[in-house]
């Protein structure tokens, strides 16, 4: 059984790291989690980002957050990636399977996955 003592140990470990990550979050992954997004499958997409950003060791430079309706319900699940000094990248009709390439090529490699973006989808 998971215990609060284990949580206490996590706290102590994390406290040491806090100083390290201040000010270094330079990419922001935002997942639309309004009713339209949730119904279309946003929850597993969000969780795949949380999981894989951590597995790729990117938690210091990438934050994964949630937002309400992005306003293009027919393209849900929608994920936006923000980076200072760059244009926003909008990924549409996302699935958990598409997350691996975005983490590898875009969040790690710096090159957006063009065929998952809105410009490439039939309007």
């Amino acid at each position: 059984m998971k215990s609060l003592a284990e949580l206490q140990a996590i706290k102590e470990k994390m406290q040491g790291k806090v100083a390290l990550r201040e000010g270094s979050g330079d990419k922001r992954v935002v997942v639309g989690m309004a009713t339209c997004g949730i119904a279309a499958g946003a929850r597993p997409v969000l969780n795949a980002f949380v999981e894989q950003v951590n597995a790729a060791g990117l938690t210091a430079s990438v934050t994964v957050t949630q937002t309400g309706c992005i306003g293009i319900c027919q393209f849900e699940p929608v994920v936006e990636v923000f980076e200072a000094g760059k244009e926003k990248v909008t990924y549409v009709k996302m699935t958990a399977d598409k997350v691996a390439r975005i983490v590898e090529e875009h969040l790690k490699g710096g090159k957006p996955v063009a065929e998952y973006t809105i410009g490439y989808t039939e309007l």
């Binding site: 996590i10 470990k13 119904a39 994964v64």
Partner: protein, 184 residues
């Protein structure tokens, strides 16, 4: 919605949006009846909004754009022969005890009853997205009672965020252990 855990996530998002400091997610299974309840201390709804979300005919008489979340929950409950109700006290009229209670009743033996789905993912998703809000989750069935109170975790964590990956992992394990007590 594919399953009830997604409705639960969606309805709880309304509570967070309403500025709730504590949102309670209460699921109680008794025989073939599942009671699904979200209780929050957010701003509450004005009479007008409350009428809009509970009266199915109200929306046809106005041009105001109405959301999907509560109507979807109502539909899901009613198609099992169940019910959905919203009680709300708005901050202006009830400055000291405002908030909203959404209660849906499902007949789980009905063929159209959606599966419960992944409640653990719903709880961790809410916490990941809103680490500064508090959530109390309780799922009671004939065989288990699963509980989580973020206020207890916050007391241990101090200024370490509930959205830290390791903390979310711990929460997942903590809930799963309660669902499968024999395995540990």
């Amino acid at each position: 919605m594919k399953d009830l855990s997604l409705n639960l996530l969606d309805i709880a998002e309304n509570s967070v949006k309403a500025g709730a400091t504590l949102t309670q997610l209460l699921l109680t299974q008794e025989g073939d009846i599942l009671t699904f309840q979200v209780v929050d201390d957010g701003c509450g709804m004005t009479e007008e909004i409350l009428r809009g979300v509970t009266d199915p005919f109200y929306t046809t008489r106005t041009t105001r754009k109405v959301g999907m979340g509560l109507p979807l929950l109502r539909m899901a409950a009613e198609q099992t022969g169940g019910t959905m109700e919203v009680e709300s006290r708005h901050r202006d009229a009830h400055p000291d005890n405002h908030g909203t209670v959404v209660t849906a009743v499902f007949h789980t033996d009905h063929i159209d009853c959606p599966p419960v789905g992944d409640l653990v993912a719903t709880v961790t998703t809410l916490i990941q997205g809103h680490p500064d809000a508090d959530f109390y989750f309780r799922h009671t069935t004939d065989t288990v009672q699963v509980e989580l109170d973020t206020r207890d975790l916050r007391a241990v964590l101090g200024d370490v965020s509930l959205a830290e990956y390791e903390v979310l992992q711990w929460i997942t394990g903590f809930l799963q252990d309660q669902y499968n007590p024999q395995e540990t």
